[in-house]
């Protein structure tokens, strides 16, 4: 985007500095997208998207339905590969490594980029096996004790340990919706990814479960680079440090969350956050 970083207004620089303070230090970008276009067959779903996602912290993608925010999210772990008609052009790098490089192992990429889906999708296995699934297939533990530790740590980080420690052998599907979603987050954490993608993780949850997941996201931002797609602007405002606004397949505006919500540069962003469309 040409309006990105060309003219940092004074307030944005101050906000950026504050955000950097909150999140620790100013860090280099973790995920960098340059001129990404996505086509579903003949449909041009995403047009020339360029964005830098900083390491450590939460970036929110907002925008009306069908604006391409989820499509872009799924480009970052190449989940779009599973859709035969989907074609991606442009460049996305994670830690300066091109993830669309033909030599890159997609399976390894997905181990580095975890994903939490819109609807909780625990496997029909025990809670323990759900969390142990990733570590087992990637051989992250050499023995049972290590695996136990990984599972426990992941569940603790996901704030679920106290609720399930006595019933790790129960089916993951027996948990409540909010617990299932935190189980899915624990499952993603268990393979120690660098980036966690969340595709509307709270849209199927009630307000109390949503609050728990949001608290959890806030706790996790010091350790991971988190990108969250959300329909709820309040949620974006609550959990993210940076926000990107998508509209009709283009990235309209990106910047520190507070700035986007208080002083957007683009009229379309203004209209969306004040509820005039979308």
């Amino acid at each position: 985007m040409e309006n990105r970083a060309v003219d940092l207004s004074a307030i944005e620089r101050i906000e950026a500095a504050r955000t950097a303070q909150i999140t620790g230090a100013a860090r280099p970008a973790k995920v960098v997208a340059e001129g990404v276009d996505v086509y579903y067959g003949a449909k041009h779903a995403l047009k020339d998207v360029s964005v830098d996602v900083p390491d450590r912290g939460v970036m929110a993608f907002i925008g009306p339905s069908g604006c391409g925010k989820s499509t872009f999210l799924r480009c970052i772990n190449r989940m779009n590969d599973t859709i035969p008609s989907c074609r991606v052009t442009g460049k996305i790098t994670i830690d300066d490594q091109d993830i669309y490089d033909p030599a890159l192992d997609v399976v390894q990429l997905r181990a580095r980029v975890g994903m939490v889906f819109q609807k909780p999708n625990p496997f029909p296995k025990s809670i323990f096996d759900n969390v142990a699934y990733g570590p087992r297939i990637h051989g992250l533990s050499t023995n049972k004790t290590e695996l136990d530790q990984i599972v426990q740590m992941s569940l603790q980080k996901a704030g679920l340990w106290e609720e399930v420690k006595d019933r790790l052998q129960d089916s993951g599907t027996s948990l409540s919706g909010g617990q299932q979603q935190r189980l899915c987050i624990a499952r993603a954490i268990a393979v120690s990814p660098d980036v966690i993608l969340m595709d509307e993780p709270c849209s199927a949850l009630d307000p109390i479960a949503t609050a728990k997941v949001e608290t959890l996201i806030d706790e996790l931002r010091s350790q991971f680079c988190i990108i969250i797609v959300t329909h709820s602007m309040q949620q974006a405002a609550r959990v993210s440090q940076r926000t990107a606004f998508f509209h009709l397949g283009t990235l309209v505006e990106e910047g520190p969350t507070q700035l986007i919500f208080t002083n957007p540069k683009d009229q379309r962003t203004q209209d969306y956050i004040t509820g005039r469309f979308g």
Binding site: L109, Y133, G134
Partner: protein, 465 residues
């Protein structure tokens, strides 16, 4: 006469419908403008029609057997008491009477027979008229009631819902009662086989269940006296199990793996053609597969066995099992394919997003989630294999050998049932009744398999949506 009755039934039902629709429409359009009915005229019509059709069917269903019984009793009263008392002779006489009454009697008819036939005819005709009159009366009564009931407040729509309910229950009851009837009949004959003192050569229950020799064909006539008759069921059981086991060993892996290929790897085009072709395999008549087994597979196995220096019977369990395995592949593949497709895509996505490869996802997520369905597919296939007769008759022979050697000839429960009942049989000989005992055991085994399958499915069923 039956035709007349049902013509009247149709006409009266239609009349009731039309009358009720017209009447309710007329009430709706009264002189002082349109009046609102609770139910649409169609519902009033349907309710009136059901008030005609069900009583008429009930009268016919109850009246006909009574009528036929009356006619038979009246006709037989022309014969001496000893004929009436002996069920066998009474039956034969009755057949003669009916033939004569229908004008198909061959040969000279006695006076008594002619009188009986006349009586039979007159009773039948009179009874039919009475039946028709009763039916029409009931129908008219029904129409009258329906006519009186029609009013703006009458809830015909809700009442018709009850009629629908009763019809559905009746349909379900037919299936259930048929099952109960078949089981009861097989069970009765089985009990006769074991416990009826009039049956010669019947075995005890222990002899039957644990005997190791099956030789029911022997000693049926007096001049064969010294050949031992044996009803040991074990060789049949082992034969059945052996062939079923071989069939499942063939069909299980092939069917499941082809299901996985079709559901997960095949392109939509391959799938669109591959699945129907596989299902055609299920449509091949088993008798065709049977001679394929007997004429092609069995000699091939025999030749191969000789090459290896093995002694293979020309009719072997292996040949029958292999071909039967081919037969049940479509059951396993098609059903498993369906259940694998039913596993939600979100689970595959979740696994892929964790960095699992496709085969890891299938092995660790998709198959466990689809397990209940796969188990029931296997159980259905096993039931088919156990119940299959034709292939075994042609390829595995009739010799009841107690063996687990797949290279020998064996026989199965179904084949023996068929063998026992083929040809002219006395119905109360041990040999014929043995078929019922075998049928009962077969039914019991399949029932147990189904129960086990249901248990497994219930235990491992996972809630995903």
């Amino acid at each position: 006469m039956t035709v007349t009755y049902f013509a009247a039934l149709c006409a009266l039902t239609l009349a009731a419908y039309i009358i009720a629709v017209r009447r309710s429409s007329a009430i709706a359009n009264t002189a002082n403008g349109r009046q609102r009915l609770h139910s649409l005229p169609t519902y009033h019509g349907l309710l009136a029609a059901s008030l005609v059709i069900f009583p008429m069917i009930a009268i016919f269903a109850l009246g006909s057997p009574i009528l036929s019984h009356e006619a038979a009793t009246n006709a037989l009263s022309h014969f001496p008491a000893d004929v009436q008392a002996d069920a066998m002779r009474a039956g034969a006489t009755l057949r003669d009477i009916r033939n004569l009454a229908a004008g198909q009697h061959s040969g000279e008819a006695s006076d008594a027979l002619r009188a009986a036939a006349d009586s039979y005819n007159s009773t039948s005709t009179q009874g039919a008229y009475i039946l028709l009159a009763a039916g029409i009366a009931a129908a008219l009564l029904g129409i009258a009631i329906a006519f009186r009931l029609i009013s703006p407040q009458f809830r015909a729509r809700n009442h018709f819902e009850k009629v629908v309910n009763v019809v559905l229950i009746a349909c379900a009851a037919v299936a259930i009662l048929t099952t109960i009837g078949i089981v009861a009949s097989v069970l009765t004959e089985t009990l006769r086989f074991f416990f009826d003192p009039h049956i010669k050569g019947r075995p005890t229950v222990t002899d039957f269940l644990f005997g190791t020799e099956w030789n029911p064909q022997a000693a049926m006539r007096a001049d064969q006296g010294d050949i031992k008759t044996a009803y040991g069921f074990l060789p049949l059981l082992t034969g059945t199990l052996l062939i079923t086991f071989i069939a499942i060993c063939v069909a299980g892996p092939l069917g499941l793996l082809s299901a996985i290929y079709l559901a997960e790897y095949a392109s939509p085009k391959v799938r669109a053609y591959g699945k129907p072709v596989l299902e055609i395999l299920a449509g091949i008549p088993t008798v065709v597969l049977g001679f394929f087994a007997a004429l092609t597979v069995a000699p091939m196995i025999r030749g191969f066995g000789q090459y290896l220096g093995l002694d293979v019977a020309s009719e072997s369990a292996l040949a029958a099992g292999l071909v039967m395995g081919m037969m049940i592949i479509p059951f396993i593949s098609s059903l498993s394919d369906d259940v694998i497709n039913a596993v939600p895509q979100s689970l595959r996505d979740g696994s892929a997003a964790l960095g699992a490869t496709k085969s890891e996802t299938i092995r660790q997520v998709v198959l466990p989630a689809a397990l209940p369905g796969i188990v029931s597919a296997f159980m259905l296939a096993i039931s088919r294999a156990i119940g299959e007769t034709m292939i075994v008759v042609m390829a595995a022979g009739l010799a009841a050998n107690l063996t687990f050697n797949p290279l020998e000839a064996v026989t199965t429960i179904t084949v023996q049932i068929k063998t026992l009942l083929v040809g002219d049989q006395e119905f109360d000989s041990a040999k014929t009744l043995a078929a019922f005992a075998l049928g009962f055991v077969l039914f019991f085994v399949t029932l147990m398999l189904n129960v086990i399958a249901l248990r497994i499915v219930r235990k491992y069923r996972e809630q995903y949506d």
